[in-house]
Amino acid sequence: MAMTPSRARGLLLTPAGLWYAALLLLPLAVVLIFSFGERSPIGGYAPGFTFAQYANLPARFAAFRNTLTLAPIGTLAALLIAYPLAYFLAVKVTPKWKTLLLVLVIVPFWTSILIRSYAWIFLLGGKGIPALLAHLGLEDIRLLNTPFAVLVGIVYGYLPLMVFPIYVALEKLDKRLLEASADLGTPPWRSFLQITLPLSMPGVLTGCMLVFILLMGEFLIPAILGGGKVFFVGNALVDLFLQSRNWAFGSAVAVALVVVMLVVVALYSRAVKRFGATRDDTGLM
């Protein structure tokens, strides 16, 4: 028996629809409902309808401030380090070395970020880099448990996620465009600004979006390298759900984070669109 096209389409969409409902909408709805409830006397969630949790949000202002400063700065720092690396891998390295070097970028992923962050505790701690600096006459420099330590940690942890989209964009860049640019009288560095950079922007934008969104939810690295002094919204959530067991307030913080993230991402894509539209008029120069 033949099915009508609309019925067939409905059937085909069912798995995706179920997946979407079960894994995305349902948990989000639960969190939303919790956020209007109360903490039960023994911890966890007690049903109710109150805005008290949202009114209490300013108590966690520091977490939002840290997240909203360190996530963009971390994204930018990762971009500035990843772009030259990706350029080197995609353009300069001979094919013989390319695979090996690409694998080296991935290898750290094979070990837990927890272990690698502990390595940074040693590197940034008293016997690590500060000891080296002391030899150079720079005494009493504290790195561990500072925003700088958290920044180093997140840039280190998320660098591969920035490198790969940029690498892919640069890799598929037609090298003949650079010959054409040179042929038309453009020295190499100006060809980079006018051809390579604009044409690799999709990779840059993807990498930034990826790293930024993940950084907004980060909690492990601030916990380990921030020493409880530099904490993200993620740390607040861990604290609220696992330590003080205040699920209602935790849910309100989580909803607030989602809202903040939506606003930032919307602003970002609007800026990107505007960039996309003006790029052609100016050619970046």
Binding site: L177, E179, A182, D183, T186, L199, G283
Partner: protein, 393 residues
């Protein structure tokens, strides 16, 4: 029409001047020059001791199969490759070490290499925007508009590259190059990606453009018809070397070597023994014993040589037909006969000689009524047609 491979001694000498070495024109007439230019990639020699003068305002083609070095020659002119040995001159000055962005030449790339993030006008104006000191915006806009008009794309300046057809993209690539008023316009197989009909149109447009602009065009192609149709002169290349340089007519009528005779048009190539040379004519004995008189070659002191004759220079006659004067006769049997509209192509097995191809114009075919497969015929070889070929390098 039947005078292929038949030449007077006088034009032969002119040909020698052109084909052997850089011609003797004065320096100011040449816009670019290769002087013993060699390019090696590792153990591979892509271009081997090229010596060639490119004349100001001419349309020169590098013709040859892939891997013959023609693209390497073009890329050395553009500045993408630096010669391993020898020099490249543009307008009298040595540019061997000059990078591409500092050379007064522009290229139309094989797949156009248009910038996908710019529209048509921005692509065309790209070269002008690189000028330092900067060219005023109004002047750029005016020159871009003029170039787009030249390639008949005035209404397309705001279009995105991917909105254009292949032929339109090619015209944008052309406009992007000529807007800079280069000393030489380099064309790297520009027609390869176009379909046959469009290719013919583009060829005529390119020729008209070259005439009106007066810019020297240097084309690289593997398509002999394209080279023959468009070029003032053709430089035939093989194995990284220049095999012969000459006008399309020269190359067709007086190929110097077996390689050139094979590459440009079709030719019957026969081994023969040289008997005597008199009045620019060489009498040779074919393997069948038949004596024919062919055109002289500069180094015919050899006892044996290859002889080339075009299929249309030969004709056919029934064995009982009266023989014309001053014509050698080769008895043969027809093995294949192919009707090709304006002419009929015969393949014959000549006695003690092997396969010969003879093209008979339709007019002659109608008069004689044609010759059936299997029929005995006489292949007629007029005295003075055909040519002794130089030994291949």
């Amino acid at each position: 029409m039947l005078d292929a491979l038949a030449a007077t001694g006088k034009t032969m000498q002119q040909d020698q001047q052109m084909s052997n070495s850089p011609d003797k024109t004065i320096a100011s007439d040449s816009v670019a020059e290769f002087i013993g230019t060699t390019k090696r990639f590792g153990s591979i020699t892509a271009a081997d001791g090229l010596s060639l003068r490119i004349r100001r305002g001419e349309f020169l083609s590098f013709l040859g199969p892939s891997g013959c070095g023609k693209t390497t020659a073009l890329r050395m002119l553009a500045g993408f490759e630096r010669p391993t040995e020898g020099d490249v001159l543009i307008d009298g000055s040595n540019v061997s070490g000059l990078p591409a962005h500092r050379r007064p030449v522009n290229m139309v790339f094989q797949h156009y290499a248009l910038f996908p993030h710019m529209n048509v006008a921005q692509n065309v104006g790209y070269g002008l925007r690189q000028r330092r000191p900067r060219m005023p915006k109004a002047e750029i806009a005016q020159k871009v508009a003029k170039a787009l008009g030249t390639v008949r794309l005035s209404d397309f300046s705001d279009r995105r590259i991917w909105e254009l057809s292949g032929g339109q993209q090619q015209r944008v690539a052309l406009a992007r190059a000529i807007v800079n008023e280069p000393k030489i316009l380099l064309l790297d197989e520009p027609m390869a990606a176009l379909d046959a009909k469009l290719r013919g149109e583009m060829q005529r447009e390119l020729l008209a453009l070259q005439r009106s602009l007066g810019i020297t065009f240097v084309l690289v192609t593997h398509d002999q018809e394209e080279a023959l149709a468009m070029s003032d002169r053709i430089c035939i290349m093989g194995n990284g070397r220049i095999a012969q340089v000459g006008t399309p007519g020269d190359l067709y009528d007086r190929p110097r070597s077996r390689y050139v005779a094979d590459f440009v048009g079709k030719a019957n190539i026969l081994t023969a023994e040289i008997i005597e040379t008199r009045d620019k004519l060489v009498t040779v004995r074919l393997r069948s014993g038949a004596l024919v008189a062919v055109q002289q070659n500069p180094d015919d002191s050899r006892a044996q040589a290859d002889i080339a004759i075009r299929p249309e220079a030969l004709s056919l006659a029934a064995p009982d037909a009266p023989l014309p004067v001053a014509t050698a006769t080769l008895p043969a049997r027809v093995t294949h006969r192919t009707f090709l509209g304006d002419h009929t192509e015969y393949l014959l097995e000549a006695d003690d000689l092997g396969t010969l191809q003879v093209n008979v114009p339709q007019q002659a075919e109608r008069v004689s009524g044609g010759h059936d497969v299997g029929a005995r015929v006489h292949v007629l070889w007029p005295e003075g047609t055909g040519l002794v070929l130089a030994a291949d390098d």
